[in-house]
């Protein structure tokens, strides 16, 4: 079994600050981290490989600093890491990102055929969840999104049994291998990294490829050029006016509120029994 996990380096949006004058990111305010969903993706690969045996590769696209998230993935238990890094990739939207990653996957698959690709449900910076299904289409393998459990991997039959969150509940799905999964956080808990992994990660040097290392790449499909979407403008959402402030002591305010609510009874479905 060979699983490739796509991992992205993202600014920690929990702490990120926006410069209110320019509406741009204050990058210094946010440390770069491994996209949390991708950490769960790596962890799930580790869980699967523990049962089936095999190899976990991680693949990232980004600037040279993105090697940090590959090292982090090695800590969790990945065996190898690949970074594709080139100016030509810069400014990519989801369409161009999935194109570049699928070309790298093609190259990885030449050395060792890929049985499964795992992505995060979404990246917390781009927040789209579109890259995973995009890669699957480009590789022509079935995508299964919003996965909450990998129930069974059957290597003989080349199938996998999966639970996914669908719009109105959970589904149990069987997919042929190779396939691509995108995972929810609840799929697993990130385990403490074993010491040997930590040591390996410190010394680990990922394979770094530029566009020239990939085959049959159409440069018009990469980066900014290959991105059909552009950001038109940025704006802070219009600030609403707000309504009525109730006045007086807390008793008076409570009384006023009760009065208002009793008048608005038509809004409420009134029910007289429990």
């Amino acid at each position: 079994m060979h699983i490739v996990v796509c991992v992205k380096q993202v600014p920690d949006t929990k702490i990120i600050k926006i410069n209110p004058k320019t509406n741009t990111l204050d990058r210094r305010s946010a440390p770069a981290i491994l996209n949390p969903y991708d950490a769960h993706a790596v962890q799930e690969a580790v869980k699967i490989i523990e049962k089936t045996g095999g190899t976990i590769s991680v693949l990232s696209m980004g600037p040279p600093q993105a090697t940090a998230v590959i090292k982090k993935s090695i800590e969790i238990g990945a065996d190898r890491g690949y970074l594709i890094s080139d100016r030509a990739f810069a400014g990519a939207d989801t369409l161009a990102t999935s194109y570049a990653l699928s070309k790298a996957l093609e190259r990885i698959g030449k050395d060792l055929p890929v049985d499964m690709v795992i992505c995060g449900k979404h990246a917390i910076d781009g927040d789209t969840g579109q890259v995973g299904p995009g890669i699957a289409r480009r590789m022509d393998i079935p995508p299964v999104t919003n996965v909450i459990e990998v129930t069974e991997v059957n290597e003989q039959e080349k199938t996998v049994l999966i639970k996914r969150k669908s719009t109105n509940g959970n589904e149990l799905i069987q997919a042929d291998l190779p396939c691509l999964l995108t995972v929810e956080k609840e799929i697993n808990n990130i385990e403490y990294s074993p010491l040997p992994n930590m040591i390996k990660a410190v010394r680990y040097e990922p394979v770094i490829w530029t566009v020239a290392d990939l085959e049959n790449v159409e440069c018009t499909q990469l980066g900014l050029k290959g991105s059909p979407t552009i950001v038109g403008k940025m704006f802070t959402p219009p600030k609403p006016e707000g309504g009525k402030r109730l006045e007086g002591s807390s008793d008076e305010q409570v009384k006023q509120l009760m009065g208002i609510l009793m008048e608005k009874k038509e809004l409420l479905t009134l029910q007289s029994s429990k």
Binding site: Q130, R137, T167, G169, T229, D251, M262, K264, L268
Partner: protein, 343 residues
Amino acid sequence: MKLEEYQGVWVFIEQNDRVIEGVSLELLGAGRKLADKLNVSLAGVLLGEGIKPLASEVITGGADEVYVIDHPVLKDYRTESYMKCIMLLAEKYKPEIFLYGATPNGKDLASAVATDLNTGLTADTTMLDVDVDNRLLEASRPAFGGNIMATILCKKHRPQMATVRPKVMKALEPDTARAGKIIEETISLAEEDMRTKVFQIVKDVTKKASLAEAHVIVCGGKGMGDLQNFGLLYELAETIGASVGGTRDVVEAGWLPHHLQIGQTGETVTPKIYFAVAVSGAIQHVVGMKNSEIIIAINKDPNAPIFDVATYGIVGDAMEIIPKLIEEFKQVPINQGGEISYA
């Protein structure tokens, strides 16, 4: 690509168990406005098995046309079969704008379709407009963790596609007098060719019954102080028959499970009455509740941003106000509305 060959606004009509998802009707409402501005027709795309009867609902919801593909293989949603249908229709009829609900299945489908159509797709849109002069869809969405909005454009590719979050657009009142055209298409699909099989669907009844569908919500924030004080909100909720939700900070403090989080990274809710108690009103929270009909904010800080979205604001200490409210509601005889219930 000849952009002018592409015309019309399309909405993917998501149905599950032959029930149309609310977001699809909301998109017909939003799509109607775009189509009228552009002076083109609005069409719904309806896929599934035994779903023809739903077509009239799409027309009363605002569409001029409905494209229907009814096939046994389409019984349950699957990326591969559904996208084949969409590709067939989109390549044949060439819409200029194509909207999908940002549900798990809608996002899955749109992402796959965008790749094969080689076009742009904006995710999780919360505002939609169109520039009539250059016929560009302006799809705006929260960016960088919701602190600001970004308007995404797709200038040189068609269709212009977007997924749109549920409950931010408004559905139209169903108009049974509306006339529309139903266009049936056929496709050859074979179960043996499918690489995925759906074995079982376990419907999520609990979620539907709680926040997303609740008519009255009591939402607590970090200002409640601790888990014990937070308990006051349960008491209020019980007295009036409401559901309890919370902010992300409350969930992170472990006072509530994640599925009760309201906001950008939680549920979007649109109850008739929303109590925001000791909630500051951060933008990421507000996007998930601002379409509630009546918002009542209780906060001790008169400058808290929650007051900007509140219909009624009370400046005061929640520990004092909430017990009083509970008392008052207990006084109200049942038949006068002492049970504000959401059935």
